[in-house]
Symmetry: C2
Subunit: 369 residues, 2 copies
Amino acid sequence: MKFSINQKDLYNALNIVRRAVAKNQTLPILTGIFLKLKNNKLTLKSTDLELGIKYDLTVKAESDGAIVLPATQFLNIIRELPNEDVYLELNQDKWQLQIKCINSLFKINGYDPDEFPNLPQVEESAKFELPANKFKEMIKKVRISTSKDETQPALTGALFEVESEKVKMVSTNTYRLSFIEAPLKTSVNEKIAVIIPGTTLQELNNLLEDEGSVEVEVDSNYARFTFAGIEVISRLIEGKFPNYELVIPDESNSNFSADLSQLHGAVKRASLIAKLDANIITLEAANGLMEINSAEGSSGYAHEEVKIDLEGPDQKINIDAGYFIDVLKVLDSEEINIEMIGPLNPLVVNSQKDGDKFIYLIMPVRSQS
Amino acid sequence: MKFSINQKDLYNALNIVRRAVAKNQTLPILTGIFLKLKNNKLTLKSTDLELGIKYDLTVKAESDGAIVLPATQFLNIIRELPNEDVYLELNQDKWQLQIKCINSLFKINGYDPDEFPNLPQVEESAKFELPANKFKEMIKKVRISTSKDETQPALTGALFEVESEKVKMVSTNTYRLSFIEAPLKTSVNEKIAVIIPGTTLQELNNLLEDEGSVEVEVDSNYARFTFAGIEVISRLIEGKFPNYELVIPDESNSNFSADLSQLHGAVKRASLIAKLDANIITLEAANGLMEINSAEGSSGYAHEEVKIDLEGPDQKINIDAGYFIDVLKVLDSEEINIEMIGPLNPLVVNSQKDGDKFIYLIMPVRSQS
């Protein structure tokens, strides 16, 4: 294995595959990045056995070969090199890679590449394409509601439902819920419904760009996402996603809209006091105003007012300020629309954009001390 | 106490005094910021009993008063408010401050200001002025060599020697040493020699700007630095600073210069491998080249080459890469000048600028495994 490549190109490639490198040391080889050179094509791979990433790039090659290198070390060295051609050569007897760039010479000890696990195959799969920007948008809005509680695995991911004319994603930690549906033609005949892990959504969100399309392949155990030369393979979460449809109210009593950035600022400030206790805030909508109050705790009290357009009766509800801030962060409209039934029903944030339907539910907190 | 002030002005002021707020909770009131209003002058104060900061600003006042407010909370709230006038009013029965800004209202519980300790007085002191930019420059170069070892208190600070025609600062952790001397007229008759704590140097470095001058007052226990409306009062470290003069070599065998940024890059890269072990690198100066090598450890090996102009015999020395990087970071010339006697004598970085003399010593590491 002997080849050369521009420093920046190699650094960018490593920065992509590093996202699936194992964070714990249980299997040391998984903290490495797999490199394989064949006919001018350098393949980089990483996996923590849940998620795998593969990226190919063209290099100036002299001879083929493969090695696994410790990811952090390799990445740090390539980052600090000047933006020039880097010459890499394998010493297979020692599983050591030599890196040369102008006046720098490194030898990094690695692992036998035969010990690196293969990325899983996605078999007899359904296959379809999505626009990358749209898919990223959906992921951003659904990612926030996934649960961290490993005792309910299905909730640590998002339901991904694909039909011939629409794509749906849903996530919930039972205290809040994200639902997004986009009218997309998908070349899918039979409805697909799988659960994508929250960590996979996070890395897809990091890697997806606003241009091009994503090819998605799904079987019962794995999903593969291919875009911009990157291949992301994720284990799917087994189990049944809860019946979320019953939770989404199909009508409301009151409906109000507010300026998004004003509301965001107000909730953020009120939360500065509220989070010193349980981060619960009270929203009161009446007379064209939304009042936001923290409980009067030992450290103090916060009160905010935001102008709203209110249709329907006055409303009052206690909710977790953090859950509210999460959705205020990912909305990108100027206005926010909120629907309410009453103090014991969820608060519903509603947004429609380019035919997409986004619903975000926050369950009320029954009482506030 | 009732007054108003622009949000940004108040935030900037709090950002200055927060630097002396106590980090631990032993005395809760010290995690607060003291506010006192008298005749349109708002005085802000903080102290952790080692360091104290006082800052005055003019406000639109209606009535006088004082309170101590929890620093983090107060600062977070003021930061999130819009850049408008903020109205503050004390409820003295509850030691609670009310903060109003447009549609925001906060009440923060604070402490009785009578319980806040007075900042120490500097008595019968020597008093002189220094240019702020020059003093900051000296601090930056001397700060890096202070020790973290609390068992040798004198080494956790920097010696500060002031005479009528020059100012000197020296620090060392016994493995490296910073010495800087500047030809400054100071209005000091009798030589002053005190030890300023490393933490004080750090905060002075953060607060000092490149313009104006610093008024310094020193007695045997405290020093006061006054600049840009800010007053910093620091306890001095008792004890005797070691006799550093014996350590600084008065001659050298070899002398070489190199491009600073090239050398910095090379040492940083070599350290990526070296720091996986003890962060020791070997420097070899010969034939117009400085070679930088890490030991060949279990993780790999690094070799760097930098062009130098060498006068005198070849040299080879083992040093701590971290100590070398620290000085490469604070130098601001294009070239670096290094002097050496031999492998068992310190490596000396030498820089002269505008009459200032800066010497940085790194002790050799005897052997390298």
